[in-house]
């Protein structure tokens, strides 16, 4: 039992509620939201420390023993994701301070942002399937509002598609929960794992696992990503960056949790299917990224490529593959936020997202240009930067598992992703400068700090990969051995 675990949910939630009361005091909103997100980051660091020293931390709410009560479980994988979530959220928040505009601020932008983070944090540390659904909904409802806040035509049109897709996938989620409850009689992850291992993963359970895979694929934009390019290019840059960095990753986290902890008995069916979906996602995403000439669309399709690549590590289902996935997921959260913030800054400078209408920005904005270059290289996984190690491990994992096609597609699409972002770099920063600083429609003043922070972080993650390897090893160890998780949740007692 460890009461720290609940704090990453409680702190943003309570702070957001307090902020709703003081709606006119925007300054207070800014300060409180920064404090709340930093606090949840500090708690994630403390959780990581405890994970390292004493293993998986659990909290059974109200003292009800599992599987009867609501359990919160923080293993190393969740704690790392909690920390990265807080870091990225703080950076996007700093960017929003300067760019989001007074209109949105006075219409509860900061409380909604905190509620979104509440849902994300909750999804990472919940210990049963139904609370995963609830946390998903908390996150999704906030995201519905954030995506439509501002009410421009594009936003309204795209948000309707986004809301409808997600509502339908939520219904399917409930259907899957009903079926699982009928078969196993439990919803607790650890207990599910025990029950499924006892009875063996029958054909019926495999079908349900595939239904769950479809649901999380919709949320994670794995293969079913038709809604993503439109939805992620509609809201302002700070919101799009948070969405790109975190929302798809929550779906990926859920896929990882379920297919390493509960449904790991039939890898020839489920994990092969995951591999095929990942490969298709990467190919389609890469084609989209290469084909488009609009910054927002190129970046949105890059999110899709990243999803496919992380999932490829899970498909291999080996220690190398999962290590790669953990590394790459952390890298991807940071670099997607970074590149969306950079793209948003470029669009606010030039007033357009079309690559053919811009040129030569590097003369007036050298730092912006070089940071975009770093982000582009990091996205493609060029060695000193953070994407490299994850790519190596995932490729190694897929090759060792015998999925050569998957590894090859991963490498090929990395090149296409690199081409698509370098295309932005060349068209936008090289060439003749025809936009003098007075003619620009925006300014980089104040927004450079969060971008610089994230750039520094992606360099440090690449150079200091050795330093976090102890933590990733621990995360992968629990992912590969469900017994550790079950042992921690039931505290040594046998499951009823």
């Amino acid at each position: 039992m460890n009461n720290l675990i609940i704090l990453p949910i409680i702190i943003p939630l309570i702070t957001g509620m307090v902020m709703v009361i003081f709606r006119r005091n925007i300054k207070l909103h800014k300060i409180l939201s920064l404090i709340a997100l930093s606090a949840s980051g500090i708690i994630a660091v403390m959780l990581m420390g405890e994970n390292k020293n004493t293993g998986i931390q659990t909290l059974h709410l109200g003292g009800w023993k599992p599987p009867f009560g609501v359990s919160m479980v923080a293993d190393m994988f969740s704690s790392m994701l909690l920390l990265i979530t807080s870091i990225v959220a703080v950076c996007c928040l700093l960017y929003a301070f300067r760019s989001i505009g007074e209109e949105r601020e006075s219409h509860y932008f900061y409380p909604l942002f905190l509620f979104l983070i509440t849902g994300v944090n909750g999804s990472f540390i919940t210990g049963d399937l139904f609370n995963l659904f609830v946390c998903f909904e908390v996150m999704l409802i906030s995201s519905y509002v954030l995506i439509s806040l501002g009410g421009t035509k594009v936003q309204l049109r795209e948000s309707i598609k986004y809301v409808l897709t997600n509502i339908i996938s939520s219904f399917l989620f409930l259907v899957a929960i009903a079926y699982i409850y009928a078969i196993t009689g439990t919803l607790n992850f650890a207990h599910l794992s025990v029950r499924v291992a006892e009875t063996g993963q029958s054909g019926l359970l495999t079908i349900i696992s595939i239904l769950l895979l479809v649901i999380f694929s919709l949320k994670a934009a794995l293969f079913l990503f038709f809604w993503l390019p439109g939805s992620y290019s509609a809201p302002p840059a700070a919101v799009a960056a948070v969405f790109a960095a975190l929302l798809t990753k929550v779906g990926i986290y859920a896929i990882f949790r379920l297919f390493t902890l509960v449904f790991y008995h039939e890898p020839k069916v489920t994990h092969l299917l995951i591999g095929i979906l990942g490969a298709a996602t990467m190919i389609l995403g890469a084609i989209g990224a290469v084909a488009h000439w609009d910054i927002k669309n190129i970046l949105a399709y890059n999110v899709i490529i990243g999803v496919g690549f992380i999932i490829a590590g899970l498909a291999s289902f080996s220690i190398e593959g999962l290590t790669g996935s953990v590394y790459y997921m952390i890298h991807d959260i940071i670099v997607k936020a970074l590149i969306f913030l950079l793209g948003g800054t470029i669009i606010s400078l030039t007033g357009t997202g079309k690559l053919k209408d811009m040129s030569g920005l590097i003369r007036n904005h050298p730092y912006l240009g070089w940071m975009f270059f770093i982000a582009a290289l990091s996205l493609a996984g060029i060695p000193p930067l953070s994407g490299f190690l994850g790519k190596v491990f995932i490729t190694q994992g897929t090759f060792e598992a015998g999925y050569f096609w998957l590894g090859a597609i991963g490498l090929l699409t990395s090149l296409m992703a690199l081409y698509s972002v370098i295309k932005i770099f060349m068209n936008c920063f090289w060439g003749e400068t025809f936009l003098s600083e007075e003619m620009e429609s925006g300014t980089t003043k104040g927004v450079m700090f969060p971008i610089a922070c994230l750039s520094l972080l992606t360099i440090l993650l690449g150079l200091g990969a050795e330093g976090i390897s102890a933590y990733t090893q621990l995360a992968v160890q629990t992912l590969m051995n469900p017994e550790i998780y079950i042992q921690a949740v039931f505290g040594g007692e046998t499951a009823p």
Binding site: F130, I141, V154, L156, S159, I168
Partner: protein, 112 residues
């Protein structure tokens, strides 16, 4: 009883799917609402319909009905209220701004 409920759930899903596939936004929202009822009934059916007495501590010699599905449905209903309300408001606003509730006419280019 379970068979009857399953048929009812199937009917709800059929009606809801039909409504979601239409063009008018209001019908789509009604469709999601009807599907949600189907989902809630499905959870109730899957948890086992009234198989014993109420789960109260005083009545110890009876077999108990599982109370968990009701708790799940209660949460799901509340969430469904919130999303439906939000979706209605959103579509009203979209109707005001875009001037149509026909999803076919809502398509537009990204350039505006």
């Amino acid at each position: 009883m379970e068979t009857l409920m399953s048929l009812l759930v199937g009917l709800f899903f059929a009606i809801g799917t039909y409504l979601i596939l239409t063009k008018s936004l209001l019908r789509i929202i009604l469709g999601t609402s009807i599907i949600s009822h189907g989902v809630h009934l499905l959870i109730l059916t899957m948890g086992g319909l009234k198989t014993g007495g109420p789960p109260l501590l005083g009545l110890q010699d009876l077999p108990f009905t599982d109370a968990l599905p009701q708790a799940l449905i209660l949460t799901a209903i509340v969430i469904n209220f919130a999303t439906t309300a939000l979706f209605l408001v959103l579509s009203y606003r979209a109707y005001k701004v875009l001037g149509t509730d026909d999803t076919d006419q809502m398509r537009g280019n990204h350039d505006e």
